[in-house]
Symmetry: C2
Amino acid sequence: MQGEGLLRVTGDDGERTDAARNRRLLLDAAAEIVATCGAERLTTDAVARRAGVGKGTVFRRFGSRAGLMHALADEAGREFQQAFMSGPPPLGPGAPPLERLIAFGEASIARMRLDGQILRATEQQGGPDLEHPTQRLVRLHLAILLRGIGASDPEVGAYHLAAVLNAGLLLHLQDDRGMSVERLTASWAALVSALAA
Amino acid sequence: MQGEGLLRVTGDDGERTDAARNRRLLLDAAAEIVATCGAERLTTDAVARRAGVGKGTVFRRFGSRAGLMHALADEAGREFQQAFMSGPPPLGPGAPPLERLIAFGEASIARMRLDGQILRATEQQGGPDLEHPTQRLVRLHLAILLRGIGASDPEVGAYHLAAVLNAGLLLHLQDDRGMSVERLTASWAALVSALAA
DNA sequence: GAATAAAACGGACCGTGGTCCGCTTGACCC
DNA sequence: GGGTCAAGCGGACCACGGTCCGTTTTATTC
């Protein structure tokens, strides 16, 4: 078909076509199950069955249940990611760092209503994978903004802020403790404003 | 022995003597296994076997593996709890709130070397139980100190600070990212100092 | 098209957390 | 002591995440 010669690589990302097809199948199946039964009730067997593939394939593609959840979360969060990386201010570039920080927290909190369930599922079981590419990207972003407001040690500060915005906490405060979005965003704003010395 | 009459309660906490004995047996067995193989490798079967009781008893007493870990962590942390509740300043009462906050973070970070493993184990699997009595006590303490330094919304602030001090994060930063205790305590101090407007 | 080897597949299998239920034990009353 | 009954016990059992390995598919070369 395309004759490369040395590498046995073929798909777009070096993924065989059947592999790519199954990945989509699995992702779609997983999304449906989450939509139907909730992220908690998603089992790897069910995903495999629904996608019409073997269970081994789930783990070959995603490594673990958490990996599958991560992939799902990344798909859901791509829009958000683009918004804070290159969208319009104040979330995207153009606004002063403190405003962007505040907007980032607001957006994160607002996002929970939509895909908080999936996000929380990625955090559970073995603790959040703090070095997952998406997490790193978020922290890099936060670190840059922290540096922009003159915070000391932006790297550790980014870990702190990311911890404050984790889905498990945010959902708990909203759903179990009945705290309003306004209150949470206000607290976030107070926090980051204080950091801008 | 003591003839009560109506209630069938007997032990100190309304626990039958065999139940109390088995709880100790299980706690000791668990502590030994953690010391030997690490908290990650602790299985409920192994604890039951080592304690010489049935597996069902583990779950009757502690509800879940996480519950057992919590009980273990609470035993290990009793000293720390007394230290910040009624020990000498600056950790205990007597010092100004900001200093107590800083000391609390320092002590929490230092504590990781000793029982971080157990603490992390309590956080994993199903996410940390934010409403566990111990967690609530910590947050209550933090909230009081936050109020003392004039922070806005001490209640939410306490959740924030507790999230920053969670064992999974602290151990990750120290062990996987090679950050020094000094750096982490400095970041913590910077954070709470900023909050004291 | 035939040959080939790497990649992917699938589902039996395993370990572990958690449940269930018939049996035992301990506390209390007489 | 003997009777009672709730509390406790134990281990077979189940569900689910994750592994393993023999089989199938895919891409590529000739």
